[in-house]
Symmetry: C2
Subunit: 121 residues, 2 copies
């Protein structure tokens, strides 16, 4: 088996740095392919291909205007990612809080796993 398809989900789609760059550019408003190409100094076919991936996972939407295609971000699609990370954000805030209280020694006071009897889902 190989790596999961880039279009499998949002996580895979944004793994590629250039794809994130493109999204970031689109953050500043709807843009045509050519504009992205110029702004990022990436070849046009490359941009088009990345846009296709982003499009397939719904991260961008396209609108044709004349012979141009204007792409825009659909930020809501990043929600799964946001929600997933949120859990961990809680964790690191907790840790910082504890560190404030006890000045960071018992960093693992209760975290110590008691190696559950295997099978307890």
């Amino acid at each position: 088996m190989a790596r999961a398809a880039t279009t499998a989900d949002v996580f895979n789609a944004i793994a590629e740095a250039h794809r994130r760059d493109i999204l970031d550019v689109l953050t500043r408003g709807e843009k045509a392919v050519g504009a992205i190409v110029d702004e990022l100094a990436i070849s046009q076919p490359r941009v088009s291909k990345h846009l296709r991936v982003l499009s397939e996972v719904g991260l961008v939407r396209c609108r044709a205007v004349g012979r141009r295609r204007l792409y825009r971000v659909d930020p809501a699609r990043l929600r799964p990612l946001h929600d997933w990370v949120a859990k961990y954000e809680l964790m690191w805030n907790e840790r910082l809080d504890r560190r404030d209280d006890h000045l960071g020694d018992l960093q693992r006071e209760r975290t110590e796993s008691d190696q559950q009897p295997r099978g307890a889902s």
Copy 2:
């Protein structure tokens, strides 16, 4: 060129669903490899390999206890991801706000890109 290494950054590391599963399990506390294996019903070598990737990007830390290795999450490492998504969270909140105000017609009032003169970084 192929896809970026899974160990290139946190984004690539968490692209793999099983890796996220492992992190989620570790969310509930430090766990030994065997515990993860049992909980996720994934082969041991697989788990070990995923842990290695997670380890290389700093998402988990390891501590040897006897012949066991206890892994724990280092949630702070997800910060880049969190920060990146945060921008988009703002965006979708804005949109919802606007929708509240104007009942969603002028969804693109100002978003309209004015196709900057090409070259303006």
